[in-house]
């Protein structure tokens, strides 16, 4: 699947910057290229935060339109994608506030939970456990599992682990500190692991001869 590639070198211009310059010069088709490059990722971020398909569609559209209108304010010192994510996160939070009739919602909330900070389910998983489910069953498990996490955890996990952004870029995109991103990422990973264990743990009586030796040597 597509991941966000880091900038190749300090002095090389990121391809997005060239596209932004073309848009500024009046070439709307260059903006289409940026939209097609990032629309799926922005949609997923919006879906993670709003938990509502219609809202996510609106947020995606509003975020790209807003970014287009504000393109003159985009400074080349940040990456276009992190700038775009920031707009999308703000749009998502605004949408959520509307739904919750004005209640404050932030990417910082719900971080007091200790869930998952100490692993409790210590059963090993079956090898390639996802193969025990159909694609649609697996999609439903993965959606259901991540849905219960606080918004700040979900978005950090999505940006860092699914989309492959660096800790620093994730922090910039979300307006969080680097330690805050690290702390959320660890807890998101552990909570997801704990919850997925219910589905993926080895069934009693299944034969796993030889697996342990192979896997242990591959761990580090």
């Amino acid at each position: 699947m597509a991941t966000i590639q880091p900038i190749a070198g300090e002095n090389e211009q990121h391809p997005d910057v060239a596209l932004v310059e073309r848009v500024r010069a009046g070439d709307v088709s260059a903006y289409d290229t940026l939209v097609r490059k990032y629309d799926r990722q922005i949609f997923r971020i919006a879906q993670h935060i709003t938990q509502n398909r219609e809202d996510a569609e609106d947020v995606m559209q509003d975020a790209f339109l807003k970014a287009y209108e504000k393109l003159d304010q985009f400074q080349g010192n940040s990456k276009f994608y992190t700038w775009l994510v920031r707009i999308a996160v703000n749009e998502s939070l605004m949408r959520l506030r509307k739904r919750r009739t004005g209640k404050m919602v932030s990417i910082d909330e719900d971080i007091e939970t200790d869930e998952g900070s100490v692993p409790r389910d210590l059963a090993d998983w079956a090898p390639d456990p996802e193969q025990n489910y159909t694609q649609s069953e697996l999609a439903s498990i993965l959606e259901k599992t991540i849905k219960g996490l606080p918004p700040g955890f979900k978005v950090v996990f999505e940006l860092r682990d699914v989309q492959g952004l660096s800790t620093e870029d994730t922090a910039e995109a979300l307006g969080l500190s680097v330690p805050a991103v690290k702390s959320r990422l660890l807890r998101a990973r552990l909570q997801l692991r704990e919850r997925l264990s219910r589905y993926f743990r080895k069934k009693k009586g299944s034969k796993q001869v030889g697996l342990k030796e192979v896997r242990k040597s591959d761990l580090l």
Partner: protein, 78 residues
Amino acid sequence: MTCSEFLALLDDLIDDSVTSEMRADLQEHLRGCEHCEVTLSTTRKTIEIYRSHEIYDMPAGLRERLHAAIMARCKKGC
């Protein structure tokens, strides 16, 4: 190394940002601790599964609608 100390370094280990000395310490702990071994392998698997199975597919037609909205906005003033 205790399990709590191992856990505090779990992310650095997964993200491959530990020194070789630290890696040796972590490896030493793993040799004697099945719980941490399972935590490490299943956390890695968690990330791998989410990375290789995209959730929240974009609805058909959304991209076209967005394109049309941008074009409409553009005609008004760009």
